[in-house]
């Protein structure tokens, strides 16, 4: 079953703090596409080591959005990229696209 992002972690962190909530979502919306763009660029250039660092950063946001399965995928993908292997890019990209669509709704 496909995972759905959620804001449970953000809710726990923000409580009634609406200012923080808005600020955090704003950062997510701005930073996530930038990181994905950088990741795609590095994959296209076959710079797998650099791409692994991008996955590492994206991994945190995946976690924040409560996507445990995608996080596992990111862990595997990051480790493979570090070794110069790229077996999970397509699967990972699909997950990233899902997150990008979700971020547009919040």
């Amino acid at each position: 079953m496909k995972e759905v992002p959620n804001l449970k972690y953000l809710d726990e962190l923000a409580g009634n703090d609406e200012i923080f909530r808005k600020k955090f979502i704003g950062i997510l919306k701005e930073e996530f596409p930038r990181e994905v763009h950088q990741y795609v660029g590095n994959i296209k250039a076959s710079c797998f080591k650099e791409a692994s660092l991008d996955v590492h950063k994206i991994k945190h946001k995946i976690n924040v959005l409560g996507l445990n399965g995608t996080h596992q995928l990111a862990v595997v993908h990051e480790a493979e990229l570090r070794k110069g292997e790229n077996f999970h890019h397509d699967e990972f990209m699909m997950a990233l696209k899902g997150i990008e669509s979700y971020l547009k709704t919040i």
């Binding site: 955090f24 660092l53 590492h56 945190h60």
Partner: protein, 236 residues
């Protein structure tokens, strides 16, 4: 307690900052998206805690820890558990938080930091009391611990929030109080002769009515400290 946050990811910084805001005694003084800028800041300022990401481009968190020369408490933050063991090799690292950091885990971390600060030897901020035994004293200047032999010290002068330690070769401006360093110095060698001056007793060249000559420095003697000075002199 004041702290800084070092993380190249804005989302991570804002999370740590939010967690810090829930701890009344914790004050985030600055945030950095790279380790180099943080090091520059730390060369000018002192902080109690550094929340530090391990994975940063160029200069990593571990590189950063290795450059630190004074005992600021460090809390590592990362998305990996792999580095936990490596991070504990460094004495300054008191905890290791795996992202995303939960409020409960953060509270435990702060307690851990507080405990580690509580067991730190009491004394001056920049004068390491553990190192005042024996024949020398360590002073903290620009994050370097410099060893001074008691015999090199001529006099110490209060200068606002600092003290100026005058030695035979050099002067050292240290951020501490005269009282704090006085408490650490051996009584038989040093004497406070004025509210702003402590002298090395063995370095006195001569004494006039209201002043002492130490090398080329004329140091005033206060009325209240004069009897103790006179008592200590081996008068003919």
């Amino acid at each position: 307690m004041n702290c800084i946050i070092v993380d190249d990811e804005a989302a991570a910084r804002v999370i740590v900052s939010q967690l810090c805001s829930k701890v009344p005694e914790l004050d985030v003084v600055e945030e950095f998206d790279n380790a180099i800028e943080a090091i520059k800041f730390l060369n000018q300022h002192e902080v109690d805690i550094i929340f530090l990401d391990i994975h940063m481009p160029g200069f990593t968190g571990i590189d950063f820890v290795q450059t630190l020369k004074n005992p600021t408490k460090i809390v590592m933050t990362t998305s990996d558990t792999d580095f936990a063991i490596a991070s504990y090799e460094y004495e300054a690292i008191v905890d290791y938080l795996v992202k995303p950091i939960t409020p409960e885990r953060f509270e435990k971390c702060i307690q851990k930091v507080k405990n580690s600060i509580a067991v730190r030897p009491q004394g001056g901020e920049n004068v390491d009391p553990e190192n005042t035994v024996g024949e020398d004293l360590y002073i903290n200047i620009d994050r370097r611990l410099i060893k001074l032999k008691y015999n090199e010290i001529l006099l110490i002068e209060a200068k606002g929030d600092y003290i100026n330690i005058k030695t035979e070769n050099k002067d050292y401006l240290v951020h501490t109080t005269l009282k704090k360093i006085h408490d650490k110095l051996p009584e038989e060698k040093f004497l406070q002769i004025h509210r702003s001056y402590i002298i090395n007793f063995s370095k006195i060249i001569d004494i006039e009515d209201n002043s002492v000559l130490i090398e080329k420095s004329v140091v005033p003697i206060s009325r209240s400290n004069r009897p103790e000075l006179m008592r200590r002199l081996n008068l003919l």
